[in-house]
């Protein structure tokens, strides 16, 4: 079989995540080690739904920089809060000093941006004219680009900036997009990540599709009955890996993307597109299925996703590769899920911890994977992360240790 030349690996020189598990890596690591879920009964805003959510605490108290007040909304507050953890802010400033502001790109995934601001504004339309309230700022909050625009302006960047919006695979695909732009020599580094925050559109929307569980979600359980919506922001600084890379460095080895071409909100039942994405990530890295030590599944906890994904993984990897979904801990952070789970994969590579999937009462016997329900430790060299979105937008990312 012919093997294509592997892509030159990129290093995740810094990364951070903020979710319902807590602010920053220490809190995230601790929750995963303790098998603690951040999900709680939904009492968000005025929402009245019997479901669980993964809410980030303290967003109301986040202060945005005075010169960027027009960007003030839940989503950009979450972005700002996350950027200030784990020295990520300083790492960005250091990269700017090394490369220059025009050589750093911003590639961020989101699905709903600051739509919560618009949803609330629609309750306060002018009774006579129907106009939106005076303070409503479309560009700063509503538009999907808002969060990438905010991050670019926060750091005074002048390179390419874009929001990538393919629903629940958005912030996985940013890694592939940034890798292309670095590979094409247009930039030297990229802030990649995802930011998605709770809003009524997704809570009532997934409820309308009967895809929200009344309990904390139970991926791969025999009687799983839906997902739990979460919110999160996760970022990584991607740079070319030097020849003398630190052996402990975390690398992006490959990315695979595909489309289901099947249905807007249901996955292909056999996971054909998912399998193609995983296969292409391996090909991009010049690796075989047996080279992967752990798979962080998309694993939303809906009956259809877990069934389709299981078939796709089984078909490509067989039933031996350890895998789990971390959405029982974090909820489904939608457009931020890919980046959040990329960071969880990086933590797994660093520590050798494969997080067990939470909330499983009885494993679904139809899903014949080596699905971990308890934490396990092993030396991990390479891990795969799956993300699949509405519209059939699939992405698989392969991460590894430098040595």
């Amino acid at each position: 079989m012919m093997r294509s030349t592997p892509m030159s690996p990129l290093a995740l020189t810094h990364f951070t995540a903020t979710s319902c598990l807590g602010k920053g890596l220490a809190a995230t690591r601790a929750a995963l080690q303790q098998s603690r879920s951040g999900l709680s009964p939904c009492c968000f805003e005025t929402v009245q739904l019997a479901t669980y959510i993964g809410e980030v605490e303290g967003l109301d108290a986040v202060e945005m920089p005075p010169q960027l007040q027009r960007f003030d909304c839940r989503n950009n507050r979450l972005a700002h809060l996350a950027l200030m953890q784990d020295g990520f802010d300083a790492a960005v400033r250091s990269a700017i000093a090394r490369f220059g502001p025009d050589r750093i790109g911003v590639y961020l995934g989101t699905s709903t941006s600051g739509i919560l601001t618009t949803e609330i504004a629609y309750r306060h339309l002018d009774p006579l004219t129907g106009a939106l309230p005076d303070g409503f700022d479309y560009k700063g909050t509503h538009n999907s680009f808002s969060v990438a625009d905010y991050v670019g302006r926060l750091y005074g960047l002048a390179g390419p900036a874009v929001a990538l919006c393919t629903a629940c695979s958005s912030s996985a695909k940013v890694f592939a997009a940034a890798q292309r732009m670095i590979g094409a020599g247009q930039i030297d580094a990229a802030i990649v990540g995802g930011v998605d925050s709770l809003c009524l559109t997704t809570l009532y929307g997934f409820h309308s599709l009967q895809l929200t569980s009344p309990e904390p979600c139970r991926p791969f359980d025999a009687t799983r009955d839906g997902l739990s919506i979460g919110e999160a922001a996760a970022f990584a600084l991607l740079e070319r890996a030097p020849a003398d890379t630190d052996p402990a460095a975390i690398l992006l080895l490959g990315a695979g993307e595909s489309s289901d071409a099947y249905h807007m909100s249901s996955p292909h039942p056999d996971g054909a597109g998912a399998r193609t994405a995983m296969h292409d990530a391996l090909t991009a890295a010049g690796l075989a299925p047996g080279d992967v030590d752990y798979i962080n599944l998309h694993g939303t906890g809906t009956p259809s996703n877990d069934s389709a994904e299981s078939r796709a993984v089984l078909g490509l990897f067989g039933d031996a590769t350890p895998c789990s979904s971390t959405k029982g801990a974090t909820g489904h952070a939608l457009g931020a899920a890919g980046a959040l789970e990329a960071v969880i994969c990086a933590l797994a590579l660093e520590s050798g911890l494969m997080p067990g999937g939470l909330n499983v009462r009885q494993r679904d016997p139809q899903l014949a994977l080596n699905y971990l329900t308890q934490n396990e430790r092993a030396p991990l060299q390479r891990v795969l992360s799956n993300s699949f979105g509405f519209g059939g937008a699939n992405c698989a990312l392969l991460f590894g240790r430098a040595a």
Partner: protein
């Protein structure tokens, strides 16, 4: 900054007073006067019946310009076969504004039961999803938003894909107007879309060639005031100066609007 290159194998255009590339080319080359008229969106015949009913205006717009760009490169009977094989880059500032408005109205009302179809159509990549279903295309697809910079952001991504070894990619840039009250805050006057079928410079002998680099030069306005009004008010129409060059078959560099921090210089060899 190094340049990104690509060749244009097909163009699709649809906007106010610009019914297709043939009509737009004649206006841009000043062979015909520009006559303002509301954008007429064709029904999405390529979609299965169930999806056809659910397809909003931006989806019909994207499907129309994409098919036109492919039609320029292949016989009409070959469009579907070509589309099935092509990776796609969708880029739009706002997605489906009608759908977004309806969701916000329902969520602000006493009964928040939103329609499942409205919800799945609310994703920014809805047009990409419908396109892939219409043509059975399982190739990679991305959906971008860079606000007013969305056209140039899409062109950059498409050319980066070519640089990475993809032989051909279809770029679809499209925007449509919001209804009130969002229209007052985002006054996009009408639907406008551009699709470019881009192929690598290696395989594009004889085709118009582009060389793209970020710039600090100011973006060029359109020669004709009515077209400049379109360019300035619809993000997807920020690509019109490039089409003007191509229509006039004039070699040289045209500067497109991109971000506040940079513009995009496009060297054109028609």
């Amino acid at each position: 900054m190094s340049t990104l290159t690509g060749c244009i194998q097909g163009i699709g255009v649809l906007g106010p007073g610009l019914a297709d590339w043939s009509a737009a080319r004649a206006v841009l080359a000043r062979e015909q006067p520009y006559l303002a008229a509301a954008t007429v969106l064709p029904p999405p015949a390529v979609l299965p019946a169930a999806e056809r009913r659910r397809a909003g205006r931006v989806i019909r717009l994207a499907l129309a310009v994409g098919a036109e760009a492919l039609g320029a490169a292949t016989a009409a009977s070959g469009v579907a076969d070509y589309a099935r094989l092509l990776p796609t880059v969708f880029t739009s500032s706002g997605g489906d504004g009608d759908n977004c408005h309806e969701l916000c109205v329902t969520l602000a009302s006493g009964d928040r039961q939103i329609s499942p179809t409205r919800f799945h159509n609310s994703v920014h990549n809805a047009a990409a999803g419908y396109w892939s279903i219409a043509y059975g295309c399982t190739r990679p697809s991305t959906s971008l938003c860079a606000g007013d910079a969305s056209f140039a952001a899409g062109l950059l991504e498409a050319l980066a894909q070519l640089a990475g070894g993809t032989p051909a990619v279809l770029l679809l840039a499209y925007d449509a107007n919001y209804p009130q009250p969002l229209y007052a805050r985002r006054p996009i006057p009408d639907a406008f879309g551009i699709a470019l079928l881009l192929v690598s410079a290696d395989s594009g002998a004889g085709l118009p060639q582009l060389e793209v680099t970020l710039s600090s030069a100011p973006a060029a306005p359109m020669e004709q005031a009515a077209l400049e009004s379109l360019r300035a008010s619809i993000p997807a129409a920020r690509g019109l100066p490039l089409l003007e060059r191509l229509a006039q078959r004039r070699a040289g560099t045209v500067v497109l609007d991109y971000l506040d921090s940079a513009t995009m210089a496009v060297g054109v060899q028609p």
